[in-house]
Symmetry: C2
Subunit: 439 residues, 2 copies
Amino acid sequence: MPGEGVGVGLVGLGTIGVGVAKVLERNAGVIRERLGFPLRLVRVADLDLERDRGIDLSGVRFDRDTEGLLDDPDVQIVVELIGGYDAARRVTLGAIERGKHVVTANKALLALHGGEIFEAAARAGVDVAFEASVGGGIPILRSLREGLSANQIETIHGIMNGTTNYVLTEMERTGEPFEVVLKRAQELGYAEADPSFDVDGIDAAHKLTLLVAMAFGAELTFKDIPTEGIRALEPLDFEAAERLGLVCKLLGIAKAHDDGRIEVRVHPTLIPATSLLAHVEGAMNAIAVHGNAVGPTLFYGAGAGELPTASAVVADLMEIARELQRGTAGPVPPLAYVPQSLRPKPLVPLGELVGRAYLRFTALDRPGVLSHIAGALGDCGVGIESVLQQGRGGAVESVPVVILTHPAPESAIRGALAEIDSLADVTAPTLFVRIEDEL
Amino acid sequence: MPGEGVGVGLVGLGTIGVGVAKVLERNAGVIRERLGFPLRLVRVADLDLERDRGIDLSGVRFDRDTEGLLDDPDVQIVVELIGGYDAARRVTLGAIERGKHVVTANKALLALHGGEIFEAAARAGVDVAFEASVGGGIPILRSLREGLSANQIETIHGIMNGTTNYVLTEMERTGEPFEVVLKRAQELGYAEADPSFDVDGIDAAHKLTLLVAMAFGAELTFKDIPTEGIRALEPLDFEAAERLGLVCKLLGIAKAHDDGRIEVRVHPTLIPATSLLAHVEGAMNAIAVHGNAVGPTLFYGAGAGELPTASAVVADLMEIARELQRGTAGPVPPLAYVPQSLRPKPLVPLGELVGRAYLRFTALDRPGVLSHIAGALGDCGVGIESVLQQGRGGAVESVPVVILTHPAPESAIRGALAEIDSLADVTAPTLFVRIEDEL
């Protein structure tokens, strides 16, 4: 059934796949007005043929036959939306081998197997587009690849996981503990039954891997990114942060150092309550990018969800469709740099980072404890900016003590904490949250 | 002197022109790593050959000969940065006639002569790129053209003029009157000696013209955009706004109505203090775009200045250079829609808009005045949400009275104001500021 326009084949009809079908149908008019020709969903493959997804697929061939879809001459662009690693990798490489362009939202796949996939695509002369894989509907990858292409990117600070941002916003708003808020997030569909991918920071690290490659021309470095999640935060940390004029966000952070090394990390971060990022609430995402020419920028929008993610997938389809009408692949390399410019960049070890720290100690309320803690910090050269004692316990009851440090190297802080956490009066490991003051 | 890479000719070596030369020089390394070839500034034309601009133009031909630059075979892309209308139009059309691609930051030119220029470019098969003309370094045009291309754009709310945002932020912060703050802005270089282009909203209306065309596929409509500036705002309006949980911004607003008409306007606007746009301070810009798939998005950055604007100009140069290396013009139409899709869109008259209003009356403090005002509003069907009396005067002294209305059609409010402003006890025209609650 070759027809006018460009034919799209969709592998995986889950939430985002359904969103793509909806956007292609509802916005067919405006898509055609922009392109000058239609974008046609011609074929869909999914293992589940029965479930009612509330969309009309009449005129679209829908079966389980992924190989058939890849071989179908009417399918010019393959959309991979099955998620995960193995099957997604097989579909993506299979499409590329057949000379078909690929659009994907799969950050996990690209963060781990991106090198192999982008190489295969370059050899085959096809595009692999993945705007939906970072920041959902926010056109952050295009902005790094093209809008900010004249800049040396200096820093990236991103709220890139809607689940954790929802949980953190709710913990701040309600004062409830992590488990209670997480349970509500699961009931509302903001968090998965197994939330570890989100709350342990892995999803954000996948996304940061892609941003770092595009921002700095660095080879993909997922396995090297220090990653911490949000499970250790307690209601009193939000109270203390508020008193200190700070807000807690799970940030993906990347910075270029003058010596050619890069700093990359994902962890809960305290940022000034006056910063724009601090006002990004609920399941929304935002990525702040600082370039040496443009200065500070910020890109905000829905980081997940059926239609926002589909917005990015279909934008990629439109970009490739325009190129197909000209008989070429796109001129912009998928990682923003020509492949020969991509190179491994040495990472800055966490110990070298310098910044203020939020430390929450759990100690028996005995005379001399605070002096021990302060002494250990002082011995390691860590200055104290302020001390908040959150409550009174007793000799047998532990109380939290919050200390804000002056800027110090992380290695010094870690050294002090090793000593402090071995004190008899300190009854639980100290919570250490980094503060980013430059936002 | 044909060399490797793509040759750029720059017409106009003012602030932004100098910024472009700086970015091309300082970031030559990263530009080459991204493109795979260099972008070379080969020629500059400006009337002033003497002024020391603090840049090294050795190796660049620099003279007053604009025609020679346009004819130079080494110049493949012409950057028009002279501003204004006539000379800029001549250079732009001259470059296009010679088959050269053009990059410009000139929103005034495009808002008024865009139709002619884009038509000429389409005939000649060349690109006209203008990312720098809206939002300075923010890649908002690319985001509308490509990143959000799968969406029916529903609304745009933009802070698109840094001068006015600086003045409004300072008036709010200091409580000083407009003239005092404007003078300081002029001393700091945030405002021109003749500030009317900025403070009367004309610059924002130029930019909104371009956004509206790209968002809705509408023909350019600058002369039809209702435009109000910020001169009428007084310190007490900022006090009152704060008490009401509102913040005043000069917004460019555009909305698509279901009946195919569009709503377009530039005016001071009160928005919820909790909205992200309310936190955009000083000379920064931000554009909030709502699409039917992506939902709410926001793009933030420096809206003006040497290097931020140059960031956008050089990004356009890089995009065109990539195409030149392939021997084609870019596939994306300059106004995001294929030319045959662009059509005039009827505008919604202001009278039909419905929203809450902030009304500041100036009246003699006599018994019965408030009841007259309230009566006139009531007769026109305008409900009162709250009344703030800002001070006490006397029978011979005028006092301000602030009234917040319930949502009402603007025609009803205008009708009531006509009656109220003709009352003997009302001593000055009433200030009417629209409230946007949906942000």
